[in-house]
Amino acid sequence: MKVYIDLTLLPSDDIGQNFLWQKMFQQIHLALAELNNAKGVQPVALAFPGYRVHGLGNKLRLMAIDSADLHALDLSQWLDRLMDYVHISSVRDVPEKVEKYVCYSRQRSKTGVERLARRYAKRHNIELEQAMAHYQDFQPKYLKAPFIQMQSLSGDQQFRLFIERTWCAEASAEATADFGSYGLGKNTALPHF
């Protein structure tokens, strides 16, 4: 990664950090999806420099190899109605010497038996009933990772986007990486600074 933009949340009385994450991330997700549609791949990765056990901190970092991709996102347009609550930095260069590398990925909870069964049925090409039987003694596992409360745009559903952080020894080849509309990738180590 060569360039980045930092978005800083500006919480205040009553308008808390988690609430702002929810509002901002919805817009970021749309911006990334748009870029994905336009280019066929989505080359912008998200990082969370303030990531802690119990929260994501107050910064979202957008990273790319080509600064043109960050400009193409047109963040000030997407965040136009949030400008009083989010600060957008200019496009900056990633420091040349970075000691740590990190990977942010989405974690799916294993709590809904039906969702798991549907997936199992599809994967093993069997009936849903059989798959349900497979999960008979299922114990839900709850996640502890920090999350962003999301509202599904297709339905009225609320869900949690859990984000996991793993430290990596060194940077990975990233030229062809595709980070999807959430900007998360399991296999790409990003510079941490």
């Binding site: 500006l10 009385d13 609550y85």
Partner: protein, 341 residues
């Protein structure tokens, strides 16, 4: 230090900006002035997960911890949202602006009362409440009092009507006014400010304003009335209770008042990018409860009492901003007596 023989142990000021409760209606943007329906609260039962940190005793026992976090967390909460066909929230309230700041509502020391009145008159002669009124007017125009409903709203219109004296109306596009600073110079705002300043600087005059604020938040979106502080949570009862008046979702007058007096950009850390909380509400110790911080501590002599005690006894404050702040706390009102022991 001024001499302290003139101590008022009983000293109180009435608030000079008096908002009503804010009532919430749903409407559509195109017919917002004509058709509105009161918003009602809905009760929701949701199944959450246990996500709070567990007690140490539970944490140490793996079996217990698993049993504990695997329980579903059933809750009943209040919620409020627009009807499926509505896309706009209307918030309606009135605001009374009162004069007579030179007279405390209670004061038991004649010498103090006299020196205070003199200091207040000097301020009015010099500033005529211009700066404070301009900031209050900007907070009406920028719709800060929508609080969370303001975040991400596509369009926001504010219509202010004067109900007494000269019949006047002001209209603002709130999205043109930021909540981060007070640098804007706008004719409409300045005119509204002039009316408010006149009332504040007067001896016994007042101004009555009616405020209708329309925010296009999107079809069927959730809106946020005030949350009631529930002190006595019985088991199984509702965990989130929202404020309503006669079945209509509403915002507390205190919350509207707090937004209107969020004009303090004069505290020491305001200019510090990392530490700043942006404009904060006028409070004697600059307390911001959500951040769990006070930005004006007695240690740094930036709190109201440190400044007021000297100023009211005839001393000059070193900065005009400090005078603005002291006067703004008096506009807020409160009980400020000091111990005479």
């Amino acid at each position: 230090m001024a001499k302290k023989e003139n101590i008022a142990s009983v000293l109180a000021f009435e608030k000079k900006l008096v908002p009503s409760d804010g009532y919430m209606y749903g409407t559509c943007w195109d017919v917002r002035a004509e058709q509105t329906t009161p918003l009602k609260l809905q009760e929701k039962s949701v199944r959450g997960t246990i996500s709070n940190r567990q007690k140490p005793a539970v944490q140490k026992d793996p079996a217990k911890l698993n049993a504990e976090v695997e329980k579903a967390n059933l809750q009943t909460v209040d919620a409020c949202s627009l009807a499926p066909e509505q896309d706009t929230l209307k918030l309606h309230f009135t605001l009374k602006v009162l004069g007579g700041i030179c007279q405390p509502s209670a004061c038991n020391n004649a010498a103090f009362k006299q020196s205070y009145a003199k200091a207040a008159r000097t301020y009015i002669e010099k500033e005529a409440f211009g700066e404070l009124a301009r900031r209050y007017a900007l907070n009406l125009a920028n719709a800060r009092y929508l609080w969370r409903n303001r975040v991400g709203a596509e369009k926001i219109e504010v219509v202010v009507n004067a109900l007494n004296g000269e019949k006047k109306q002001w209209k603002f596009d709130a999205t043109e006014f930021t909540t981060r600073h007070f640098d804007a110079d706008d004719n409409q705002v300045n005119d509204l400010a002039a009316h408010m300043a006149k009332a504040l600087a007067s001896d016994d005059d007042f101004l009555m304003l009616d405020i209708c604020c329309y925010a296009k938040v999107g079809k069927a979106q959730e809106v946020y009335p005030s949350e009631e502080l529930v002190l006595d949570k019985g088991k199984g009862s509702k965990s989130k209770v929202l404020y309503s008046v006669e079945n209509m979702a509403a915002m507390h007058s205190q919350k509207l008042g707090n937004a209107l007096r969020t004009i303090d950009t004069w505290y020491p850390e305001f200019t510090d990018v990392e530490q700043s909380a942006g404009p904060i509400a006028i409070e004697p110790f600059g307390a911001v409860t959500n951040l769990g911080r006070a930005f004006r501590t007695p240690k740094e002599k930036q709190d109201f009492y440190s400044l007021f005690d000297n100023w009211a006894r005839g001393e000059q404050l070193s900065r005009t901003e400090d005078e603005h702040y002291v006067m703004a706390v008096l506009v807020r009102g409160g009980v400020f007596g000091e111990s005479d022991k």
